[in-house]
């Protein structure tokens, strides 16, 4: 009890004496954890956007060789319409010419791409939508396996390749996110450690004296550990405040105004994020002081 009181008093005195330092440490932790929180929220928003996008796309395109006869076309179209997962109403035959027209329209700013074409290189194709976007893979497989005249089918492009593309980007984002989060956590730990080191450094004569009058290492260490954890905790509280205000004042409004992007937050995100930031602050404080003590408080 006596000890606890003593350490609390000692920590408080050190914090008050080195108020500048304490504020610096707290600010650094707050900035780091704040950024961390914002990255997680942004990441979550983006993930949800991608997921919403995934859910919307259910398109399959079927490219045919120029040798395909009208009969073969009919057989293929009938087969497509017979697939139960396909929305038959959406099956659409796009001719070579139509495709070229579309191509010219799309690249009308870059006429050099099509001006000197004499022969149309684009194929005829069927476009169709599945009833449920999830079934794109099933439909593609059915076409691959069961379609009549498979030798006429040059290529099948489906939304699943678009989804793959999106998922690749999403994966890249996840990787960047993880790297960023880890890097920031390390920076935060280093900076807390630096501030504790500075606190130790500023009091190194005092510490030397304490040792000379018989203080054990842990007796000297505890106040610094408590100081580090305290700073980490206060920093994380500030970060939580910042994160919550940014969410309420900026991100929520953004979600509202940019509805067309279908941004959104996962339910319960904050219920996980807030305790995590708090824990992060405590851990940063503890690791920071532990590292500083390990390096600078050996007898």
């Amino acid at each position: 009890m006596n000890r606890v009181k003593y350490f609390a008093a000692e920590t408080w005195a050190s914090l008050r004496k080195n108020i500048i330092l304490a504020v610096a440490a707290i600010a650094v932790v707050a900035v780091s954890l704040g950024i961390l929180g914002l990255v997680v929220m942004g990441w979550n928003m983006f993930t949800n956007m991608i997921k919403n996008a995934e859910r919307k796309v259910g398109e399959v395109d079927l490219y045919l060789t120029d040798l395909t006869t009208t009969e073969e076309l009919k057989a293929i179209e009938a087969f497509l319409a017979s697939i139960p997962e396909v929305d038959a109403a959406t099956i659409y035959f796009k001719s070579k010419d139509e495709a070229l027209q579309e191509f010219k329209e799309r690249f009308k700013d870059q006429p050099e791409l099509w001006e000197y074409i004499d022969e149309n290189p684009l194929p005829n194709s069927y476009e169709l939508m599945t009833k449920d976007p999830k079934d794109v893979g099933v439909v593609v497989n059915r076409i691959k396996n069961d379609a009549p005249h498979p030798e006429r089918i040059e290529d099948i492009k489906s939304a699943s390749s678009a989804i793959e593309k999106l998922e690749n980007i999403f994966d890249k984002f996840r990787q960047i996110g993880i790297v960023a989060v880890v890097a920031l956590a390390v920076i935060a730990i280093l900076l807390v450690s630096v501030t504790i080191q500075v606190a130790i450094f500023a009091r190194r004569r005092e510490i030397g004296i304490m040792k000379l009058v018989g203080a054990t290492n842990w007796f000297i260490r505890w106040p610094f550990v408590i100081e580090g954890v305290f700073e980490g905790t206060v920093g994380s509280l500030v970060a939580i405040l910042v994160v919550l205000s940014v969410k309420v004042w900026i991100l929520d409004r953004l979600v509202e105004s940019l509805q067309f992007l279908r941004l959104s937050f996962s339910a319960g995100l904050l219920a996980v994020l807030v305790p995590c930031i708090l824990l992060g602050g405590v851990v940063i404080g503890a690791l920071g002081s532990a590292y500083a003590l390990g390096r600078f408080l050996e007898v």
Partner: protein, 227 residues
């Protein structure tokens, strides 16, 4: 109580601060350590509290070889030795009271005991009215007396004092040594490093004289012996 065997301390730059020192100091003795500036008196004291390690030789305190003492046991050794440092080594951010109290807190003494004993001991060295002053706000002699109060607040079996009268006037200096003598009479081993000829000559205790790190004289009831 204290035994040194062929102790040599060489600082970097090949400075021989102590050379081949062998001596015994018994429990309850009162010893003056004298010698010109730079002769190794402070080094002698630093070795006893393991602030420095001897380059060679053995040091025993209460039959423990302190060279082989484990790191974590060092604080407990230091609690058995009260030490008045030449440069006082007061904590600048603590008041006089807190500075002395710290030495008790370190050993886990209760607040009640601390609040009772610290003012008592400070009164003894004539600082009963300066409890709440910071070291910066004290005169040199007052700081020295705080250091003395801190050194014996825990009634350690050994008391080392490095130049405890260097910053006080002769009469106060005599008072301080008389105090150390009183502490000595309760069984504490006392070693006083000093330049103060008058005091050494007046008290007639055992005198160990150092020169260039070597013991050149070890005399019971001795005198300062330099001019």
């Amino acid at each position: 109580m204290i035994r040194m065997r062929r102790v040599t301390k060489i600082y970097k730059g090949n400075v021989y601060a102590l050379e081949d020192v062998t001596l015994d100091i018994e429990k309850g003795e009162f010893v003056f350590l004298v010698g010109p500036s730079g002769s190794g008196k402070t080094t002698f004291i630093k070795l006893l509290i393991k602030e420095e390690e001897p380059t060679s030789g053995q040091i025993y305190i209460a039959d423990t070889n302190i060279n082989q003492l484990r790191k974590w046991k060092v604080p407990y050794l230091r609690r058995k030795i009260g030490c008045v440092f030449q440069d006082f080594k007061l904590l600048p951010h603590k008041t006089v009271f807190q500075n002395v109290a710290y030495a008790m807190e370190v050993t886990g003494k209760s607040r009640r005991l601390i609040e009772q004993q610290v003012p008592e001991v400070l009164k003894l060295v004539g600082l009963g009215h300066k409890l709440d002053a910071f070291p910066d706000e004290l005169s040199g002699g007052e700081q020295q007396r705080v250091a003395i109060a801190r050194a014996f607040i825990n009634r350690p079996p050994i008391l080392l004092a490095d130049e405890p009268t260097g910053n006080v006037d002769p009469s106060l200096g005599e008072g301080i040594v008389r105090l150390l003598e009183k502490i000595n009479s309760t069984g504490t081993t006392v070693i006083v490093a000093t330049h103060d000829k008058n005091i050494v000559d007046a008290f007639r205790k055992r005198v160990i004289a150092l020169e260039n790190g070597r013991i050149i004289r070890d005399q019971d009831r001795g005198v300062y012996g330099y001019e």
